[in-house]
Amino acid sequence: MKPIMMTAKLTFVCSLIFLLSACATQPHQDIVKAEILVRSVQNDPIIAEKAPVALREAEESLSALKALESEGGDESALQSMAYKTQLRTQIAQYKADSAVAKEIITKAQAERKNIQLEARTMEADLRARQAQEAQKKAEQALRESEEARQKAEDLARQLTELQAQATDRGMVLTLGDVLFDYNKADINEGGLRILTKLVEFLEKYPERNVLIEGHTDSTGSDSYNQTLSEKRAEAVKVALNHQGIHPSRINAVGYGKTYPIASNDTELGKQQNRRVEIILSDEHGVIKSR
């Protein structure tokens, strides 16, 4: 064989290969594009997981396209099939997007429910605690008012027992002449009994002080009466002190015949004027002076 023939043959083969390769690339651009698109959605793990049906439809469409191509289907049929395949890949993408979004929604709904439940529980807790506190406060207030009422009641009862009288200077307890020995400063038994009640009262109300005032009638000299009144007041103070009342709470003064409460002209009036008045202080220990 001559070299020229060899060259000619080689040229022929080369041109044949070229022609064949040209034929091989002949498939429509759309078909290539469709195949690339299908491969890309196949390689997307999210689409494979979330939109398997749509993915299979795209793959089947591509298979049909390939079959049509190998059968030598006409140009318009190939183009149409390629177009449909492209649409299928887009659909698969959107279906996967939808599925992902739906999953987010499902999770978020559960989360929202939890948060709402939590909030409601917290609110209920708070309400319960507020209610509890309010009730406690109400009970406290009731107890306090009850205590105050009880105290006032007790005080009133005690004062009644003491036969104290309300005056503008406060509650005044009067020990009559008959509770003292005649013309003396010694308290007799009847007087002591009354003082015992007073001691009980003072023990119960430690914030209250007493002012003890001695008074006499007009019989006898001023100095005698002054001394007697002072002695009698002092005697009451000593008696109270003996029974445990601190002297700082007791003030004793004598006024002699200065402040009569009845006429000194009659025997009854004189008797009324011979007396010891015990003035109870207010709850702050204060007594209005004469």
């Binding site: 449909k84 649409l87 959107y94 979004a101 978020a108 709904q109 939590e118 909030a119 917290m122």
Partner: protein, 131 residues
């Protein structure tokens, strides 16, 4: 007996039947594609009901146009073309539908996440008020 003999599956008989087969096949491939057109109109309607007009207007219009072409081809008795166009219109409508759904679902997901954020903030404020 006679009928059986005529239709006995001999090689000769088979050859005789070929024209009939081809006639039947050609008849089945060329009927007017009413069903295909109806189906694609139905999918287009579904897409519209989903809100494709708002979320995928281009895709929806494309499907409409293809369907109109299919109907024109049907009128012109170009049945094969009409059938093909109808199937294209159906897929185009499906695309409009799936796009619409994707957009709506994404929007809903964003909305609910937003509402959770608001709830969490409220809850935090509530806790700070409580303390």
């Amino acid at each position: 007996m006679l009928i059986r003999r005529i239709f006995r599956p001999t090689l000769l008989n088979r050859f005789f039947l070929i024209p009939f087969y081809s006639l039947i096949v050609s008849c089945t491939t060329t009927p007017p594609p009413y069903e295909e057109i109806t189906r694609s109109s139905y999918v287009i309607e579904e897409a519209q009901e989903d809100g494709a007009q708002t979320h995928a207007p281009l895709e929806l219009r494309q499907a409409h146009q293809t369907l109109e072409k299919a109907q024109q081809a049907l009128k012109d008795e170009r049945y094969e073309e009409a059938r093909n166009l109808a199937s294209v219109a159906e897929i185009e409508a499906e695309l409009a539908k799936s796009k619409t759904e994707a957009i709506k679902n994404k929007q809903a997901a964003e909305d609910i996440q937003e509402s959770i954020l608001v709830l969490k903030q409220e809850s935090l404020r509530y806790q700070s008020v409580k303390q």
